[in-house]
């Protein structure tokens, strides 16, 4: 008998549930083996960078929430740091200092955000591979975390809580008790999730030595976050270029050894444990440290409502803040890079003279680089493995497509 064998081209997505949103992946197959994976991205492209050019520095902030819609505060925080670097060299430096309480609150919520993101990443990964239960458990915890978001900012997801100059408002009195109660129970919940997965035979068969990303490839392709750490490099912006309170807290950076999907899973789980650790330290600090949660200067923040009726300067600042936003003072090109839960996120802004809008806003989304490496690491795997690999990459198309 004669067989004629030809390569098969298959569309994976954009409606496939394991495509994590809107990924159209054109797979070139030889039997079940993948020869080439060509991601077609941009189906969620909203033109954030262009839209930010139309807004004042204050108005552009909520767009950042909507980039990565599973870890919202991390992105607005990076933007806030960039805007603060614009002001730093001012004469009024002391009035521009971010108060320490604001920094601790930021750190606290950044770590809660990391939990929020990694819970999503790990449990939907498990769901893609076939384990439904951790997903149900994880989303219960996510709901509780989003409740904390709601209690500080009024919004479950798109908080706009961390703003240039500090945070929007102080945390409610009883929030710290609830977060520490959550923390205690969450450590157990994490153990349960790990009990289901880590030593599970099926989970290991699906993940170990699948999608191996060698360290050199990871660096070459600009991978960051758990993707890079899974391959064995200790590279965490919170350690190598610390911001906020990370320098003062005691925590560790987990790294993998092989760089396969299983390592990335383990890194994420361990990062969650470290986050619990940091959150506990931040809670401890917040109980002691009191004081303002915004800068003193009215150049960066809305003045307090109570001062409006009495202080001429507050009234002027109020008007300018809402009509013009922040006035750029420094000559620097504002730039900030932080460790978002998915990897290195940087905001690179070009300011323009005599106006109150950006000339160009560049957002470096970590997922964009992880998506690019998919072709390299999925070659010669089977089609079932592509689901595992995509899951371990923790893709969210809000940030990849911007």
């Amino acid at each position: 008998m004669d067989f004629s064998v030809k390569n098969f081209t298959l569309n994976f997505g954009p409606q496939h549930p394991a495509a994590h949103g809107v990924l159209r992946l054109v797979l070139k197959l030889s039997g079940e083996e993948i020869l080439r994976a060509d991601p077609h991205i941009g189906l969620l492209h909203r033109g954030t960078e262009k839209l930010m050019e139309q807004k004042t520095y204050v108005q552009a902030l909520p767009y950042l929430d909507r980039l990565d819609y599973v870890s919202m505060m991390a992105y607005e925080h990076t933007y806030s740091l960039a805007i603060e670097s614009l002001i730093k060299t001012n004469k009024l430096y002391n009035r521009m200092m971010i108060p320490i309480r604001a920094k601790v609150i930021r750190t606290l919520f950044l770590e809660l955000t990391r939990l929020l993101n990694h819970l999503m990443a790990v449990t939907t990964h498990a769901l893609d591979v076939g384990a439904l239960t951790p997903f149900l458990w994880g989303f219960e915890e996510r709901e509780r975390l989003m409740e904390f978001y709601e209690r500080v900012s009024g919004a479950r997801m798109h908080a706009a809580y961390i703003r240039p100059g500090g945070v929007t408002m102080d945390i409610p009195d009883d929030l710290l008790d609830d977060i520490s109660a959550f923390n205690a129970s969450f450590a157990y919940r994490l153990n349960e999730i790990e009990e289901m997965l880590t030593n599970n035979r099926i989970w290991r068969q699906r993940l170990v030595n699948v999608g191996v990303l060698p360290l050199d490839t990871a660096k070459d392709f600009g991978c960051s976050g758990p993707m890079l750490r899974g391959s064995g490099l200790v590279w965490d912006m919170r350690k190598v270029y610390p911001y906020d309170m990370y320098k003062h807290y005691d925590w560790m950076v987990p790294v993998g050894s092989v760089g396969d999907c299983f390592d990335r899973f383990l890194v994420r789980v361990e990062e969650m444990r470290q986050s619990i650790n940091i959150v506990n330290q931040a809670i401890h600090d917040l109980r002691v440290i009191t004081g303002p949660i915004k800068v003193r200067s009215g150049k960066l923040k809305r003045p307090y409502r109570s001062t409006l009726k009495f202080s001429m300067e507050s009234l002027i600042h109020h008007f300018r803040f809402f009509s013009k936003g922040v006035t750029p003072i420094s000559e620097n090109r504002p730039f900030a890079v932080t460790e978002a839960p998915k990897g290195e996120f940087s905001v690179d802004l070009e300011v323009q003279d005599n106006t109150y809008t950006f000339y160009r806003a560049r957002l470096r989304a970590p997922g964009f680089f992880h998506m690019q490496v998919l072709d390299t690491i999925s070659t010669s795997h089977l089609i079932a493995d592509i689901v595992t690999i995509i899951g371990s990459q923790d893709l969210v198309f809000g940030e990849i497509d911007r």
Binding site: I41, K50, G222, R362, R364, Q372
Partner: protein, 186 residues
């Protein structure tokens, strides 16, 4: 960080005295004027200067009132030294691709082509649009591209597919109108 940056800056200044027209810290920024020097510099940065550097980010911005219209910004990162190095360069509309030097360059160049219409020559693997729709026309991040775009999309019951048709906007919002005045093209 600053000390290391200063050393790197010194090294670059010694190697290419004419190149360093302006330097800022954090990230260290170098403006490069001549194309051939640029190629040498980026090669050196990748291979021999202190440590291997990786292309961390690459972007452009549009200055339509200048002859050299586009400003390219390469951001290089050394994991070993923890140094970020940013190279800026103004071009007309074509640039040499750095695809053969950095694996991450391909998609970044595709994005810059897609958004700005900068053409990358030599060494490119493939340049096609990446973020915009199939068959999209125009370059959205150019300053002469209106934020509303030129076309709108709807599903046509007759043709049973999505169709593009020229944009009809009842009124341009005041915000957009104001912003047009703000970008004073001198």
């Amino acid at each position: 960080m600053d000390k290391r940056c200063a050393r790197l800056e010194l090294t670059v200044a010694n190697l290419f005295p004419k190149l360093l027209s302006s330097v800022f810290f954090d990230p260290l920024t170098v403006l490069v004027d001549r194309g051939s020097d640029f190629k040498n510099l980026i090669f050196l940065l990748k291979h021999s200067l202190l440590t291997k550097m990786f292309l961390n980010d690459f972007t452009a911005s549009d200055h339509p009132y200048l002859v050299r219209r586009f400003e390219l910004r390469y951001q290089l990162l050394s994991y070993l030294m923890n140094v970020r190095f940013s190279l800026q360069r103004r071009i007309y509309s074509r640039a040499y691709s750095v695809d053969n030097l950095f694996a991450s360059a391909n998609w970044l160049e595709r994005e810059v082509w897609d958004m700005f219409g900068v053409i990358f020559i030599k060494n490119t693997k493939e340049i096609r649009r990446i973020l915009t729709d199939y068959g999209f026309q125009g370059f959205p991040l150019r300053k002469d591209f209106p934020v509303t775009g030129f076309f709108q999309v709807r599903y046509s019951e007759k043709k049973k597919r999505l169709i593009y048709f020229p944009l009809k906007v009842a009124e341009v919002s005041s915000k957009i109108a104001r912003n047009v005045d703000n970008t004073n093209f001198e």
